[in-house]
Subunit: 426 residues, 2 copies
């Protein structure tokens, strides 16, 4: 089956907006067993949208069009596609009612031009918009493949992500499951890992999985700096068994590098582990400059576990706030194993938290020396068992450096929490 | 002129990677006066890449292809396009030398398969890669428009952004300026603003600019939550004058909301202003959880101005680290005007910094009350002139809340620094 996404919007073509729909929709569709074969973005002009849709109709069974369903003069998608399909538009009473309710709830008058969003091409299925005024629309068409019993689907979705995503998840996914049932079973399972590069993971698992890949297992690697997703996919009647067996092998080979199997981020896992154990955390960040605190506090409920984060960028603040000794700074420098250790121990002492994580390093672009090049970092973790320090050289641009370093620090914390729990149980 | 971007990579189609090339390249090309007319993403399969390139050759003068130039088996772009152009590949000695140097510098043996990246289609222009091993390649073709004196260009760029971006800026931009000179003047000027919504800005400037838009001025608004870019564009012999006149009007109408005209981020402006004045900053963040510190420390040289950032998530840390009084917390709560004020004053007192910025609020999704709904936030700024407090309700999801709140806080700081400088001069 061919699947095509068409993103409309001049703001995309002028580079004013990042197209996050592509990744999100592609991931959803791949996990449903319908990977996207082509994605196209075009400006809000009539000719460009119609050309893109016409081309897609000639080669595709499923077309998802995003954007251009709003009330303003550059929202042309609904009109243009209705014309292309030779369908008249009529006002849909339920949609009109929804738009009126939307404004009434907010105590705002309904601008007259918003009523245009209630226009629906004849024969279209209407997808209610729980978070905005423009509904989604679905039209059937005859796809290029000759099987007339299975019509193609063109799905129009509103542009704003907070409207598009729930509409897709709650209404389009069930529709696709019904209209495009997978002829055979389809199973997909993703491991999120950190601490091993893509090629090292491949070296570890490719050979042991050989028998299963011969039997139809597909392995996908999604490598970002500091994080690799391993995706196991199989189709057919044995899909479930193949992915289960493969998962067992993957866990046995790289288990300690897997931090989640359900899609959780590393910071979410850490907050969850601490919450479950009613333990607390203090942070003392130099070179990561609050990046770790920011990630931790992106997780709802982080306030239950984070006592405080200290961004001690200056030597003075390392001394005053954390009690790092002047002699330590003088003898070893701010970027050193002893300083990292004293930062973590100081943060734990002043906070009384169960764990204190510290980071000191050289983010660059300036500040490196021969002995300590740009990217040098010391990460320390203090707990009831004392403090341990990890040294690394993360030679990346400033923002990547911060992310990679925060991954190492959070992973060090995750493993320590798990290990300490294991010890307690013994 | 038609411009098309083709992004290749199965990782894009599976939703494993966010396509940041589209926005970046679209913005660069729009600012050069060559807005992109279509962007396409296809998987790493031979047929899909060749079809996309063939279609583009038939309707386009400039084609940018990203990805697929690396050394592994799924890097097919170079081969496929050479075949399509009926060009033989030969080893380029300079490129081979660069690859050898790349590995030698890192003290790593050169993997034999990396030599394939030195293969260059005959007649291609080679773009040196300063940050990796795969060079960029440029081929000329006869475009669909009949002017044979101006050949079309197909530019192949490596996939990693840290390789693609400098290659485009340093080598492709000069080439495009030479090969596709703008027939008439083209001037583009962008204002970055915060604190006014898109429609309010439009209300302020559209009417006063009417005469200039009638004369050919184009106004583009790029609205993100917490930030609106206003882009003024004109072509033709009067372009410079039109944009200059329009800029004067925009500054007179919304000047105090403009934080940069050269593309600087708000955090970069704040760090620059403090550095110029040799002033220092301390941060005390509750609900933004380190987001402001993280933004400030993304700016190289931030260590000269940031004394420390304190992420005081718990009441206890607000008291112990910042000296917020227990009575204040008991009487008014952690999210209150007096607490924000005491946090800022405390941070300034312990740090001796010139400015101390504090934030306390309810990021959500839980924790709101009728009197203080989710999104309620108090931002305080302490300086030699005392402390002032701003209250706002930023009703967004957690991460958007943090960004919008950090915009308000940084903008409050920016204006205060400028005001204080103005006062000093008097």
């Amino acid at each position: 089956m061919n699947v095509e996404i068409i993103n409309t919007g001049s703001e995309l073509m002028l580079g004013f907006v990042l197209n996050t729909h592509q990744q999100w929709l592609c991931r959803q569709l791949a996990d449903l067993g319908h990977p996207v074969s082509r994605q196209v973005a075009v400006p809000d002009t009539g000719a460009a949208i119609q050309t893109a849709v016409k081309e897609a109709l000639a080669r595709t069974e499923l077309i998802i069009v995003t954007g251009g369903l709003g009330p303003t003069s550059d929202d042309l998608t609904r009109d243009l596609i209705a014309k292309l399909f030779e369908k008249k538009l009529h006002y849909d009473a339920t949609v009109l009612q929804n738009i009126e309710t939307f404004f009434a709830k907010r105590g705002r008058p309904m601008p007259p031009n918003t009523a245009v969003q209630a226009l629906v091409p004849e024969g279209a299925l209407v997808l209610a918009n729980a978070h905005g005024t423009a509904p989604g629309l679905v039209l059937e068409f005859v796809p290029p493949t000759s099987n007339a019993n299975a019509p193609g689907l063109l799905v129009m979705l509103p542009g704003p992500p907070r409207e598009l995503r729930p509409m897709f998840a709650n209404q389009v996914v069930p529709l696709l499951r019904k209209k495009f049932p997978l002829t055979a079973g389809f199973v997909c399972h993703t491991f999120k890992t950190t601490g091993l590069g893509e090629s090292l993971i491949q070296d570890e698992i490719a050979q042991p999985l050989k028998q299963l890949t011969d039997a139809g297992l597909e392995i996908g690697y999604c490598a970002r700096v500091g994080e690799v997703d391993v995706r196991l996919v199989a189709s057919g009647s044995r899909a479930e068994q193949i992915v289960t067996d493969a998962g067992t092998i993957v866990r046995s080979r790289i288990g300690r590098h897997i931090f989640s199997e359900g899609g959780e981020t590393l910071e979410t896992v850490v907050v969850r582990l601490l919450t479950e154990r009613r333990q607390t955390l203090a942070l003392a960040e130099s070179c990561t400059g609050g990046h770790i605190a920011n990630r931790i506090t992106n997780v709802p409920g982080a306030s239950a576990v984070l006592w405080a984060g200290l961004v001690t960028y200056s030597n003075e603040s390392k001394q005053n706030l954390l009690g790092v000794r002047a002699e330590t700074l003088a003898a070893h420098g701010a970027v050193s194993e002893p300083t990292a250790r004293e930062m973590a121990e100081g943060a734990r002492r002043i906070s009384g938290a169960d764990y204190a994580l510290s980071v000191t390093g050289i983010a660059g672009p300036a500040g490196g020396t021969e002995a300590k090049p740009v990217g040098t970092v010391f990460i320390a973790l203090a707990s009831v068992d004392g403090a341990k320090v990890l040294q690394s050289v993360n030679g990346y641009d400033r923002e990547t450096f911060k992310f990679v370093t925060s991954q190492q620090a959070l992973e060090m914390l995750r493993r320590t929490i798990l290990l300490s729990a294991a010890t307690t149980k013994d």
